[in-house]
């Protein structure tokens, strides 16, 4: 009776645990969603940044015209006169996701606008990403670690930066897809189920649809497989986890138009095929080993190795020949700049000009992952005790992503989930140890009994993260002998029975490590563990505070609306939208607007006007043309623009209010990119002694270029001196007139200035002057007459 009751109680407790875990997950989802709503609450439900506007526009097109039109969409409102094939050059994952969401909602008669759906796609998917993290970490280290990792990921600032409401960017769904693909890979690896392997390929397909970062997956997983094979962890589960992924995944990836044959042609994917060959060979070897007697096997091995080597050499030779035939060795520019961080700044200024392609600084690590940076090493160590297939994957993941994040700020995003997973493992392991030692000691003693005086010193005084570290650091020292014995055991075992199942071996390994550790940790004194837990909670609280701050202050300010706090309250700078709205309503539908490429997406989406270049920097020459025009004097610039049918030129100018990322500050990139294609634009012409300046010391080329003139036209009249608040200097050339352009609109804070190209003048100079004078005289006289009496 008692037994059955007990069993019932415990099963109830398990069920209760599941329910709690479910609710915790639900809350994590809500947390992940709601922490990203600061931008909506503080500002408004609007899409911000530059790139998202393009995605938004594509989604609008998709919802309006349907999927088939979307694939065939040739966009003639951008890259005039070239146009752009959107369906074939865009990663459609995000768009399709939001489009599907919108379609489902609308078919349920929930009338949400496309914009609303787009704004909230990122928060929804970060909740999904948190759940995927839970699943992944659970596969690696169990439920506790999973929940901790999910909480950490739900609010890791690095991910928040790309997924706040309104930041409708590819990365928002891509991170979810990335984690989920990894989860399915680990799940397949743990279960050996073909079902999960298929799902994995589909998840990979989704990732390919979503983001160019899919190459990270298709390189990381092969690396892990290779690692497993090299360390003798090959199993049929590994084969099932990998082979279908490569075959199905590559086939599916080739279906995405933007990837297409790149899935088999570019070097980024070769690693996966190589490992695919290797794993097949290994599988064959294991199979043959199974059916042959040891003696025969030896013969077979020598045979296969000699033949295989020849084949390998041949294949590699072909590959190298293929790769070497292309100038960039078959690598795309961005990937190359990953492998060689200095590549971009040397050869492709357009990649280097994007701030998110720069290497990060140390503070940005602290900003983006905060305390996780300290927990990660502990987590890595926790992954090694014991090292399973899954945990080795996590270790590999974090190692590679640390490198990539060090190359490009943007890839911090890939690093963040790995950091969350490892720190989740570390935290949960620490909590596990501390709570268990408390639980064990609590019923036994009411007072204090320092039995284990040996360990008290370690935890009580030191800061909590250090506690964790010291605990973990002690690990290797204590483990070392055990490892050796373990190895010996392994060896002896292998000697004894080579055909023993691998599984068992693993188990033995695990067992021999775990209990010792537990035993050692179990003897932590009560006070030490209580203090350690308290400090851990404090650490967590610090993390939470930082994340909320980052979400609320650092990452929620939309870049299209700027605010400043002055003594008389909040001041809003809504100049961008002012200008775009003006363009939208007060110019002809087919007018072409030229601006630097940063504002291309916004102009097409918000102003609905054709632009010359935009943020999809696919045609360097075209961008260079605009750059050249901006850095030329007025007349040639007018000619360039006129040849491009441009009617309006838009420049962003921050000198009046001190908005630093304006066109004058970006101007050197225009010169560089323009000069890269049109050699008559020379960077030194714009620099005085290697310094970029716009004051009276500036070079005449600089003071006469179009960008300078358009930015500072009549600027001097605002304060009489022409003091530029961004450059903190008075401008060099103060009074000048525009001959080929006329100002048609300037926003309230002068942040956006729009000029119109004047129609070409009559060629006969002397005559025009005279006739002009006459004409004005006549018109004025006419006017004076007509003014008096228009009707009579």
């Amino acid at each position: 009776m008692a037994a059955s009751e007990d069993a019932k109680a415990s099963s109830l407790r398990y069920a209760f645990g599941n329910v709690i875990a479910f609710f915790i997950l639900l809350l994590i989802g809500i947390l992940a969603f709601s922490i990203r709503l600061f931008s909506v609450i503080k500002y408004e439900s609007v899409i911000h940044e530059f790139d998202p506007y393009f995605n938004y526009r594509v989604t609008q097109y998709l919802t309006k015209n349907g999927i088939y039109d979307f694939w065939n969409w040739f966009d003639d409102r951008t890259w005039y006169p070239l146009g752009r094939v959107i369906g074939g050059t865009v990663y459609p994952g995000l768009t399709l996701t939001a489009g599907t969401l919108w379609w489902i909602l609308n078919s349920l008669n929930i009338p949400l606008s496309v914009e609303t759906v787009c704004v909230f796609t990122a928060p929804i998917f970060s909740a999904n990403a948190a759940w995927a993290t839970y699943l992944l970490t659970k596969e690696v280290k169990g439920t506790g670690a999973g929940l901790t990792a999910a909480v950490l990921l739900a609010m890791v600032p690095s991910y928040i930066s790309r997924s706040v409401a309104g930041s409708y960017d590819n990365e928002a769904v891509a991170i979810f897809a990335l984690i989920f693909t990894f989860y399915l890979y680990i799940k397949t690896l743990n279960t050996g189920s073909l079902f999960y392997a298929t799902l994995n390929a589909i998840a990979y397909f989704y990732m390919v649809c979503s983001w160019g970062g899919y190459t990270f997956i298709i390189n990381l997983i092969p690396m892990h497989v290779l690692l497993c094979i090299v360390t003798g962890r090959y199993s049929s589960r590994l084969y099932i986890a990998y082979a279908p992924l490569v075959v199905l995944g590559t086939l599916l990836a080739a279906l995405v138009p933007v990837v297409g044959f790149n899935a088999v042609m570019t070097s980024e994917h070769f690693a996966s095929f190589l490992v695919f060959i290797i794993i097949n060979v290994v599988a064959l070897v294991y199979y043959i080993k199974g059916i042959l007697s040891p003696k025969m096997f030896k013969v077979a091995v020598t045979l296969v190795i000699s033949v295989g080597l020849v084949v390998c050499v041949a294949v590699i030779a072909v590959l190298i020949a293929l790769v070497a035939s292309s100038p960039t060795m078959g690598w795309s520019g961005r990937s190359l700049s990953l492998l060689d961080p200095t590549y971009a700044s040397k050869y492709i200024p357009i990649i280097a000009s994007v701030s998110e392609h720069q290497p990060p600084t140390w503070p940005s690590y602290f900003m983006d992952i905060n305390v996780l940076a300290f927990l990660v090493p502990a987590g890595i160590i926790a992954c090694f005790s014991p090292l399973s297939d899954a945990s080795s994957f996590v270790v590999l993941y974090i190692a590679t992503s640390v490198y990539f994040s060090g190359v490009m700020v943007r890839l911090m995003l890939v690093f963040a989930p790995a950091a969350c997973i490892t720190s989740g493992i570390a935290l949960s392991a620490a909590f596990d140890v501390f709570t268990r030692s408390i639980k064990f000691q609590l019923p036994g003693l009411s007072g204090n009994s320092p039995i284990d005086a040996g360990d008290t010193s370690s935890g009580s005084v030191v800061a909590q993260n250090e506690t964790v570290k010291t605990e973990k650091k002690e690990d290797p020292g204590k483990e070392r002998p055990s490892r050796k014995t373990e190895k010996n055991e392994d060896l002896s075992k292998e000697r004894h029975s080579r055909k023993n199942k691998k599984k068992e071996k693993e188990n033995v390994e695990k067992i021999s490590v775990k209990p010792q550790e537990e035993k050692r940790l179990l003897v932590l004194p009560l006070e030490a563990s209580v203090i350690a837990i308290f400090l851990l909670v404090l650490l967590g609280a610090f993390y939470v505070v930082h994340c909320v701050w980052a979400a609320a202050e650092a990452y929620s300010a939309p870049s299209i609306v700027l605010t400043s706090h002055s003594h008389d309250g909040l001041h809003v700078f809504d100049d961008f939208r002012e200008a775009y709205a003006w363009l939208r309503h007060n110019t002809e539908v087919d007018d072409k607007v030229a601006s630097w490429w940063d504002y291309g997406y916004q102009t097409t989406a918000m102003a609905n006007r054709t632009v010359i270049v935009d943020n999809n920097t696919w045609n360097n020459t075209h961008i260079a043309t605009v750059g050249t025009a901006m850095s030329s004097p007025e007349k040639p610039a007018w000619e360039i623009f006129n040849s491009l049918d441009v009617k309006y030129v838009l420049v962003v100018f921050g000198g009046l209010v001190g908005y630093p990322s304006d066109d004058i500050n970006k101007f050197l990139w225009m010169v560089r990119i323009g000069g890269g294609v049109f050699p008559h634009i020379k960077e030194p012409d714009y620099l005085r002694d290697g310094q970029y300046r716009i004051d009276s010391e500036a070079t005449p080329t600089m003071l006469n270029c179009l960008m300078y003139k358009l930015s500072y036209y009549r600027f001097v009249e605002t304060d009489g001196k022409g003091f530029d608040r961004v450059r903190q200097t008075e401008i060099g050339k103060k009074y000048f007139k525009l001959t080929h352009f006329e100002e048609v609109f300037t926003t309230h804070h002068w942040m956006v200035r729009i000029y119109k190209l004047k129609p070409p003048k009559n060629r006969l100079r002397g005559k025009t002057k005279k006739s002009k004078a006459k004409a004005t005289a006549t018109t004025s006289s006419k006017r004076s007459v007509s003014r008096k009496n228009p009707w009579h």
Binding site: Y43, I451, N507, Y580, R714, E717, W750, S786, H792
Partner: protein, 611 residues
């Protein structure tokens, strides 16, 4: 153009002398208000019947070029004298097409409340409101020029009747600069008012064109299209959404727009531009928003008191001549202020026009969205409008919401009258959507429960299925075994703890009692273990795991024995009062074995877990 018109009318006046009826206008006093972009004609007509037959209608002609801009026409009469004075009645006005009249005129007929008998007279107040009557001249101006407009009308009252005495006064915006005006005899300019007349005994259809050209920097805000959507929710809210398509209808901006000059001297360098519009919303309006297709527009102010809510909105940029913009205003209103009930019908009573002051609306579409399930829908508007019905699908609708659509061209402030929409609605329909949601989730959960509990195996008798069932049983059994072992281990821990207590406090009794309790518990547990082991023995599935389990049980038993030995030794030695060092020596060997055993047991537990 204007001159041609004028000549044309003069010729009419000359040619068409026939008197229409026996009515005579004994006195006409016209006041034209040009202070805004709208021209308001207020005419006081004293109508006298000099014929013998009673007359029941008075005809009001307007030239076609004016009539197409006629937005609003109302005739009122002051009935009675003395005490009842001031009691005005509105008279019905309708378009008529009388025969034998000169062309290019549009006729309106005012029906008098009762026939006007011989010699009787009546005073009519006619209010006519014209939009687009002020033509910007010149049509294009640079930024620094004020806007000038020309107004064109007749100095004489155009009427089919003989007018005995008439006066015309044109009121211009105060302080405005008058550029020019047509000078006739008896023309007088005083301040911002121009007076023509009095003219006496003019024949019917007299016409004398006048043009007034003056500066007018009033906002020329014209909504080319305004869609007002009024959505009723019986949960207590009326949501009004207004989509404006606005243009500055005055002189167009020519040449550069210089922000510098506009900011430096907005009164001079942007005189014709308007910065903001003021909307007077009903009281208790809430959740007001102001946005356009690219997001919220932050330049707006809202005040409110008990009688009204005032919203001042600023378009994103100053509106210069010819510039366009589009935006949306939305606000919620309490339902009980606008919805009434009578005779089983519900009546929505809400204002028709736009809340924005001095706005000309070229095309106004009012959509009243009634809740789903409304029946017998009809609208009633005090002036002629185009009316039709639509269906709108919104939040979780099944059949859609009935929509009454009212369309009217040329709308001005005077149209801000209440109109009514009648419909029938059952309150139970309110619960439809919540119930739908509840049942939807209910069925979802039911489906989940069914899925979790249902056994979806196709073949229940197949070997693999049986094996799976059995394997499940084996697993539960093993789990139970594990649980029991774990409990044994905790009991061991407790015993150890009592030993520690003993070493500290020397409390023999407590220790012994604990020992006894532990013994009992352990015995019970071993009893529980027996059937489980027997089951595992009987099960072929468990064959592979059984040795481990048995080993586990055996080790545990050994551990238990050793622990008991240790316990009794320690207790014994305490009884014998032997020294601590001695006790330690005695149990040292046992202790070693204990740790080893404990280790083994835990290892085994792990192994079994893995399997």
């Amino acid at each position: 153009m204007g001159i041609r018109f004028d000549l044309f009318f003069l010729s009419i006046a000359v040619l068409c002398a026939p008197c229409l009826s026996d009515l005579v206008l004994s006195k006409v006093d016209r006041r034209i208000d040009l202070t805004s972009q709208i021209a308001r004609f207020t005419s006081t007509l004293k109508v006298e019947n000099i014929g013998s037959d009673p007359v029941s209608e008075v005809l009001l002609p307007f030239p076609d070029h004016q009539a197409k801009n006629l937005a609003y026409l109302a005739a009122t009469t002051n009935e009675g004298k003395g005490k009842t004075k001031g009691f005005t009645t509105t008279l019905p006005v309708e378009v008529v097409h009388p025969k034998g009249m000169p062309p290019a005129l549009t006729w309106y007929s005012v029906s008098l409340p009762k026939g006007l008998g011989q010699g009787e007279s009546l005073t009519l107040d006619v209010l006519a409101v014209f939009t687009h009557a002020l033509r910007p001249f010149p049509e294009k101006i640079p930024q620094d020029q004020p806007q000038r407009v020309a107004f064109q009308d007749s100095a004489y009252y155009l009427s089919p009747y003989v007018v005995k005495v008439q006066l015309l006064s044109v009121k211009l915006p105060p302080g405005t600069k008058l550029e020019s005006h047509t000078k006739l005899e008896k023309t007088e300019v005083s301040g911002s008012e121009i007076k023509y007349g009095p003219y006496e005994n003019l024949p019917s259809f007299s016409y004398s064109p006048i043009v007034v050209h003056f500066e007018n920097n009033q906002p020329f805000a014209v909504a080319q299209e305004l869609v007002r959507e009024i959505e009723i929710s019986h949960w207590g809210n009326v949501q009004v959404t207004e989509h404006y398509n606005l243009i500055h209808g005055g002189s167009q901006l020519m040449g550069e727009f210089s922000r510098l000059e506009y900011q430096a001297r907005p009164q001079i360098r942007g005189a014709s531009a308007f910065r903001h519009l003021v909307a007077k919303l009903p009281p208790r309006a809430h959740s007001v928003y102001y946005r356009d297709e690219i997001g919220n527009i932050s330049t707006s102010h809202l005040w409110g008191d008990s009688r009204k809510t005032q919203l001042e909105i600023e378009p994103r940029y100053p509106m210069f001549g010819g510039w366009k913009t589009a935006f949306t205003i939305g606000y919620g209103l309490p339902l009980k202020d606008f919805l009434f009930q009578s005779e089983g019908k519900r009546i929505l009573n809400i204002s028709f026009g736009s809340p924005i002051k001095d706005l000309v609306i070229d095309c106004l579409i009012v959509k009243v969205v009634l809740p789903e399930g409304s029946k017998d829908v009809s609208g009633s508007v005090p002036f002629p409008v185009k009316q039709w019905h639509e269906t709108k699908f919104s939040h979780l609708d099944m059949v859609g919401r009935p929509v009454v659509v009212l369309e009217k061209m040329n709308v001005v402030q005077e149209h801000n009258q209440q109109f009514q929409v009648y419909y029938k609605f059952n309150n139970l329909s309110l619960l439809r959507e919540p119930l739908m949601l509840i049942s939807g989730f209910f069925f979802l959960f039911i489906a989940c429960i069914v899925y979790m509990h249902a056994d979806l195996t196709i073949s229940k008798s197949s070997a693999s299925y049986m094996a799976k069932l059995q394997w499940d049983e084996v697993q539960t059994a093993i789990q139970q075994v594990q649980r029991i072992i774990n409990r044994c281990l905790t009991i061991h821990d407790k015993l150890e703890a009592t030993l520690r207590d003993l070493s500290r406090t020397g409390d023999m009794q407590a220790c012994k009692a604990a020992r006894k309790a532990a013994d009992g518990l352990l015995k019970e547990l071993s009893k529980e273990l027996k059937p489980l082991l027997a089951f595992l023995h009987s099960c072929p599935q468990a064959a592979q795991i059984l040795p481990k389990v048995e080993e586990l049980v055996a080790k545990e038993r050994e551990l238990q024995e050793k622990l008991m030995v240790k316990h009794s030794t320690v207790v014994d030695s305490y009884e014998k009062k032997s020294g601590g060092r001695e006790i330690e020596n005695r149990i040292a060997s046992i202790q070693q074995k204990l740790t080893a055993l404990r280790q083994e047991v835990e290892d085994l537990l792990e192994v079994i877990d893995e399997i």
